[in-house]
Symmetry: D2
Subunit: 314 residues, 4 copies
């Protein structure tokens, strides 16, 4: 959803035209609109209502809140607690309106650090999860992870995908990349097979992304001035994810690494470890156990072995 | 709490000696031990029990869990979801034992990113808040913020102090600093008056830190080889915080900036804004309001004016 | 110098109009145009010729080459050695044309990392110095340092100003700032008194900047929407540099820190140290000296003392 | 070369013992000592003399100056110009002594940013090249690039290898890696095939590294506690470089990408471009040319196509 300027009515008229076109394309080609992404620049609250109406009309399966300006530029002029509360109330209104109009799609928030605000409230996966849980919104939202945003927040490429998945909150993926040595959002086409393999492995292990998916939020470089570059970029990036998927399937099906991980955590499958896992023991019992049996044996993490095995699948 | 090696019994004996000495010093000098900080390196779970016993003996008012190794070095060999659950169960055991022995102190978690693990689960304030809320532990813990850790997580110096405070979770402060151009934990003595002013302003605005406080988790540089450097460093850093406190008091008492902030958010004090603040409106009402009254007037953020005024207080 | 699009002739016509206007303003107000800054986007080589003609017409005292796109986006498609050679040849042409038309101004290169190219050849002060010396151009250029660029290259605010000065290459300063926790070029108005003091101290110690100066390459934040914000921002930043200058003058005149530095390096003023300083000793002589006199005594760097003293001047 | 503490004589005795052992091993196994790496911690100048004597005794082919502490922790207490001069005089003494004892090996400087000093003078390849050229030392030294240091300086993995090679200064490679999301020197075993391919491609294109080579400056992770981890790590990393070498050979031999690069720069092979390449044209001629022929046609950089092709070789 786009147009930033103009009055609300003009903006709504534009959105109607765009969505009519989308609906027509959808009907003619059979290709479904899966996402409606809503940035919150102009008339934000009224615009989101319009966006939800359009999502209903298009039968969209995902609705992404891309918090372009949900943050502060300076702490001096900002009441952080008030802003967080306003933001949560706004999300609650969106949930209420969604239910009112019978829109069935998944709501998604896309974490993004450092741009355009000095601090974005949706800095990374854990920031958004903390916010949603604090305001009781975690039942209504999942996360749409963009790896370029993840690396800007100081994490490795697949980090937020793994963390969101561990908390049961991974809903969709903006499949792009940045350069980890740059501090801005380059939105490049993802081409690194290692990265795509890690992402697909996590998606497989959580049983897929439905109704989410992979969305190419990427653009060709400024120097890529031929029309064919657009096609080459999409094909190259799709190939990168396809190779990642094939690698991930083999890794998961052959189960070598998974078996090693299981063995590493085996001590939590019985005895005292099982009681830690279940939360049914106490510090006193643990002390007593260590006094009797000595410290638990340290087992090697074998990171280099895992890395070498992983390389066999690339 | 220190000794890393040896058996549990040796370690406990060492801790007994240290805590007896601390108790004796406390009695003779009247200077209280305010914090017991517990790192989780060797025999972690049994050690924490011992630490809680010592905290009880010393009458400590704060107990800091400094999660030295609560994270992963490689995603290949790690089951993130399992580790988070184990960690939460461990914290629950600590809460249970604390209540059992009648220990009254505040439990604190100290966020720390990137060291020593590639990823620490307690990356920054919001990561810890998300974790605590997910596992229902947020009533039992507050945060001990170390600004050097904050800057390593990609935020400005005072960021996590402000965020923790906004969520009602700021319990104590490790008063040190790093160099924002470096990516490792230098633990320098804090000397920047701007930074100390921002920290003290937040602490004043939330009504103080009790039972927490400022703890100099800092060391002199490797080149500072004179004995007097230790004293100069502590005095210089205390002076820096004292100047920060005086600046912050004047800023808060004179109220110039606070009044500007209030005016900036005034639209949330009445009418539709008040209904957003209270969470008692809906997207439909807001759309209706904008149709009738037009877009709300944008007021200037005036960041440069705030910054100029702030400079008058330094 | 601005206009990016259009043909060379259109662009030149625009530049003629702009420079005529500047000349008129200069004549009417007595305020001189000190810098002509030339970005190298469109028709770069022809445009620079035009820029030099205009600089001559305006009597400019500085000509800044702002290397907006002097770098690579990808190593795959780039011949680094060829590009460096082309760039050096281009600078040589500019030197030749400058001499031909009798333009007396100082040529300046402005280091800039990471934007807009993934790698800029003029990454930081030392990168530019290395380039200039390799191609024999160091006699014809000085550096125009923008501290926001310096922090993006991973250095502290004043770093490139100090390094350029140490190599005798500091010609001018773009007085702005960024946020060290952000990885992009925010071009904010400089408001940190500590930073401005460090910059002015370096400038004083090298005997000034002439014909260079301080140039506000800064813009108000996007949220600063009032007209007065522009004035407040310039005034606030000028005040910040004025306070920095006053602080620096007192630091230099009172000489406390300078005396401490002199004492720290005193061992290089006599004996073997003097011979190291002069380059008139050898490894054999040094070994002999240490065998006879033992290792040189380590003296404390006393960083915390310096920092405490420095704070007295702020 | 190691021992940090003790008197010069003790230190020298230790070094004699170590080097005798190395010599014996060399004779018995036929495996040559290729590098002597000298850190400059204790008795630095005398120690380097000893190191050069040992290098002579062992027939070392490379002598690496690893500037562990060649930098400053604080600008307040530092005379940067003096320190740079002292450092250059020290290197000149080393060159003189090397020639005196007839040592034939290649001198190498290893760039390193941010650790252990806040600023290292040998920050990255270009910093060292600038320093060497300024003090007339560039004929006597090459660079030993450690990619983990390169990424800490804010560049991509292979950046300093490419830049050093472009300036004819690439002498040797410390084959390790870090995590680009971390800001400290993790010295991990290199396992990323993409990275090793890029490094080997550069080495092939410059005709090899002799007398330098690849040196595993890496250590297993703290959690890798089995003895076999050491072997697995070395084997895995060697395999990674072997795959990188095979990929690079195919890329170079098949020449697809190289041909594309040649075509991209074709305009510099004839006409005006050739004159820029040769440095035999002028701004006037170029303006004239553009007036007659219009702007040169922009050709697409086709980065995504290069990246897709590159992926075919991995």
């Amino acid at each position: 959803m786009g147009p930033e300027g103009g009055t609300l009515e003009e903006s709504n008229r534009n959105l109607d035209e765009i969505s009519d076109l989308a609906l027509q394309l959808q009907n003619e080609t059979g290709v479904k609109v899966l996402w409606v992404t809503c940035n919150l620049f102009a008339h934000p609250k009224a615009q989101v209502k319009k966006g939800l109406d359009i999502a209903k009309k298009l039968g969209a399966e995902n609705f992404v809140f891309w918090g372009g300006r949900e943050g502060f530029l300076s702490l001096h002029n900002t009441d952080v607690a008030a802003e967080l509360k306003h933001m949560s109330n706004f999300f609650k209104m969106a949930v209420a309106y969604k239910e009112k109009i019978g829109l069935k799609c998944q709501f998604l928030i896309e974490p993004k650090p450092k741009e355009p605000c000095k601090h974005q409230y949706d800095y990374d996966a854990m920031s958004v999860i903390g916010f949603l849980k604090h305001f009781g919104l975690d039942g209504h939202f999942k996360l749409n992870i963009e790896p370029n945003h993840t690396t800007l927040a100081g994490h490795c490429y697949e980090h937020d995908i793994v963390m969101a998945s561990a908390f049961g909150m991974l809903g969709s993926v903006d499949s792009n990349t940045g350069s980890p040595d740059l501090g801005w959002d380059t939105d490049q086409f993802p081409m690194d097979i290692r990265n795509t393999t890690m992402v697909m492995k996590t998606i497989i292990e959580q049983g897929g992304l439905q109704p989410g998916g992979l969305n190419f939020d990427a653009k060709v470089r400024r120097e890529s001035t031929d029309l064919e570059d657009l096609f080459i970029a999409h094909i190259g990036a799709m190939d990168a994810f396809a190779r990642g998927l094939r690698n991930a399937i083999r890794i998961v099906e052959e189960g070598v690494m998974n078996k090693m991980v299981k063995e590493r955590y085996m001590s939590f499958s019985s005895g005292l470890g099982k009681m830690v896992e279940d939360g049914s023991t106490s510090l006193e019992e643990m002390e007593e156990f260590i006094k009797q049996h000595g410290d638990p044996k340290v087992t090697s993490g074998k990171q280099e072995k895992y890395e070498s095995i992983f390389n066999h699948y690339l």
